[in-house]
Amino acid sequence: MGKYSFRGGVHPRGYKELSAQKPFEVFLPKGDLVFPLSQHLGKPAVPVVKKNDLVKVGQLIAKADGFISSNIHSSVSGKVKIIEPRLNNAGILGESIVIENDGEYTPAEGVGEFSDYTTMTGKEIIDKVKEAGIVGLGGAGFPTYVKLMPKNPEEIRWIVANGAECEPGITCDDRLMVEHPDWVVNGLKVVLQIFPTARAVIAIEENKPDAINAIEKEISGDDRFSVLVLKVKYPQGGERNLVHAVSGQYMESGALPASLGVIVDNTATLAAIYKAVCLNTPLYERGLTVTGSGAANPGNYIVKFGTLASEILTFEDDIRLGTKKVVLGGPMMGVAIPNLDIPLEKRNNALTVLLEDDVETAQKQMTNCIRCGKCIRVCPLGLYPQMMAEAVERNNLQRFIDVHGLDCIQCGTCNYACPAKRPLTQLFKQAKPAAMALNRLNQAKKEGGK
């Protein structure tokens, strides 16, 4: 297969060299662990433990509430200290389970036991994925088991492992593919067990030759698998780009990849599926990259969920003097956090520590829109960011919806390219909740009118 690329996109500096060659280190937290009940898309989970209960590693502590929700498991052994509102990822106080770490890491019963996926039915596999609380680890946090139950299972032709990792600075998926290619490939095999007629594709950007080699070695001899090498460009790992790359068709506005016969999962998610199904290990830890100009020790860590960011990034050792901000996620899509005392959870793939605040610099240089059309040229979705931004600035949400503002994936590409330094993506982020509410209202009206 040739190298795939897409229309639009930008080339921000990758600075992956900061951490790309650093092997994973397991980070063992010392302090209390905080598990927000909402660390996925959908309804918050409901606690199943009480104050002073003893819990073990991998034990269920909160249960999914409804279809779009997710189980949460403890990542340490210890005692439930309290269930109370604590600062979470969104920077607000949200109901959380606080666990006092006993430092023993005693596993719960059955965790780590081997099972053979080849004897399981699709339903059994999906149930295991659901039980293990697996959500999209690329950042969206959408419950994975829902993705594995499309309306048209017999039409699924491609399972794509998304290893593009196009966001600058982040290297945890790269390291995962280099160190544990078998996890990713076995995860794909487990999913193929559900969709026996599908083929598996591992999509990797060409700046990760080690990962490509490791995966190619792992899949050699199995012709259901292939590696799709992607050109280096941001946002190469967007779901729509990958769906187009394998199926040759463009996803319509509002459509799901499954409608074109494709299921896309992040490589880390697939590794989690493998561990949940074959090793009976629920999702309680993940790979996380610490990077950025202000990080004294950039590297890749296996982080237990609930670990506070302040434990990983201590002011004495890890943050350089003069650091201006810390971003949860990468520099393009991440969000700045107001406080380091927030727990790391399922959706977090990186902590980026920055000596310079580019937003501040941009704000100083901001001018009015010069109608250059650059934002339109680079948007990977072919949207009209300039028109969308104008609609938000005029508070005209209907117009924002009409120019397809709701399709925006908030990748920040337009923002990066804009020579007038307009804060485009922030405007879209700001407008989305209200625009979605308006859209639902419009739809309800339409249905009521029929």
Binding site: A90, G91, I92, L93, V335, A336, E360, Q426, Q430, P433
Partner: protein
């Protein structure tokens, strides 16, 4: 045909057409005439003509029609207030009833010296933009006024201003149209009767301990006010005290022991001074 004859024929033909159209228009005018209620136009005359939409009708014309039909009460216009209501009640021949002026009230007292800030906000200088970002602006408190003045931009009457980091309503200028309340992403602005003496100037839904760490002016939920109020006007929900303005007699018992001094007297001279911007 000579050009003279052509001219005459054209004039005659056009004349006939004009006559026919004229007759038809007169006929149609009579047949489809809309009787304009003289009351409606009189009511319309009395309304202020701001077309602000605060009454909930499409502009002053809309409200005039509704009042004339008897679908809306005569004191529906918040901008005109009592004098306009009296005029309209005369036209309509009904009693105006008691109409109390409604004004906006901002439920936050977290000025720069009282609210704790934990970060620096860099980005679009608007309340809704800041509210969409983790941490919600610079204050530690997540429910308070963000101070970027989205409400100020909405007000047509120059009645709301940012002073010392939070929004203040000028009671004398505010007409209670509610546009600011709609704009506030923190849902801080309440439209209350202007004669209410006391109001709780805090909107934090956090528990006492958390509030204490965030702001020295926040409601910590001690419920002292609920216990002290003899009229049952104080209620407590979502970790926050609230006054029922109907029941409140303005005795002020609730304020005596409030440790955060968060129940403000809206009518007292010094609080009034605080509500007026030092422009």
């Amino acid at each position: 045909m000579s050009s003279g004859a052509l001219l005459v024929i054209t004039i005659i033909l056009l004349g006939i057409v004009a006559l026919l159209v004229g007759v038809m228009l007169v006929f149609a005018g009579n047949k489809f005439a809309v009787a304009v209620d003289p009351k409606e136009s009189a009511v319309r005359e009395s309304l202020p003509g701001n077309n602000c939409g605060a009454c909930g009708y499409p502009g002053c014309d809309g409200l005039a029609a509704a009042i004339a039909k008897g679908e809306a009460p005569v004191n529906k216009c918040p901008v005109g207030g009592a004098p306009v209501a009296a005029k309209i009640s005369e036209i309509m021949g009904v009693a105006a009833g008691e109409s109390v002026r409604q004004v906006a009230f901002v439920r936050c007292s977290g000025t720069c010296d009282k609210a704790v800030t934990n970060s620096q906000y860099i980005g679009i200088r608007s309340c809704s933009a800041a509210a969409a970002i983790p941490g919600k602006g610079e204050k530690l408190c997540q429910d308070g006024c963000l101070g970027f003045g989205e409400c100020v931009a909405q007000c047509d009457f120059d009645a709301i201003h940012i002073v010392d980091g939070i929004a203040y309503v000028d009671r004398t200028k505010c007409v209670g149209c509610g546009k600011c309340a709609k704009a506030c992403p923190q849902h801080l602005i309440e439209i209350i009767p202007d004669d209410s003496v006391y109001a709780v100037a805090c909107a934090s839904r956090d528990k006492g301990k958390a509030v204490k760490a965030q702001c020295s002016a926040g409601c910590i939920g001690c419920r002292g006010c609920v216990i002290r109020c003899k009229n049952g006007a104080m209620t407590f929900a979502n970790n926050l005290a609230h006054i029922d303005y109907e029941k409140c007699t303005g005795c002020g018992d609730c304020t005596v022991k409030c440790p955060s001094k968060v129940i403000v007297n809206r009518l007292s001279p010094q609080d009034q001074a605080a509500e007026k911007p030092a422009s």
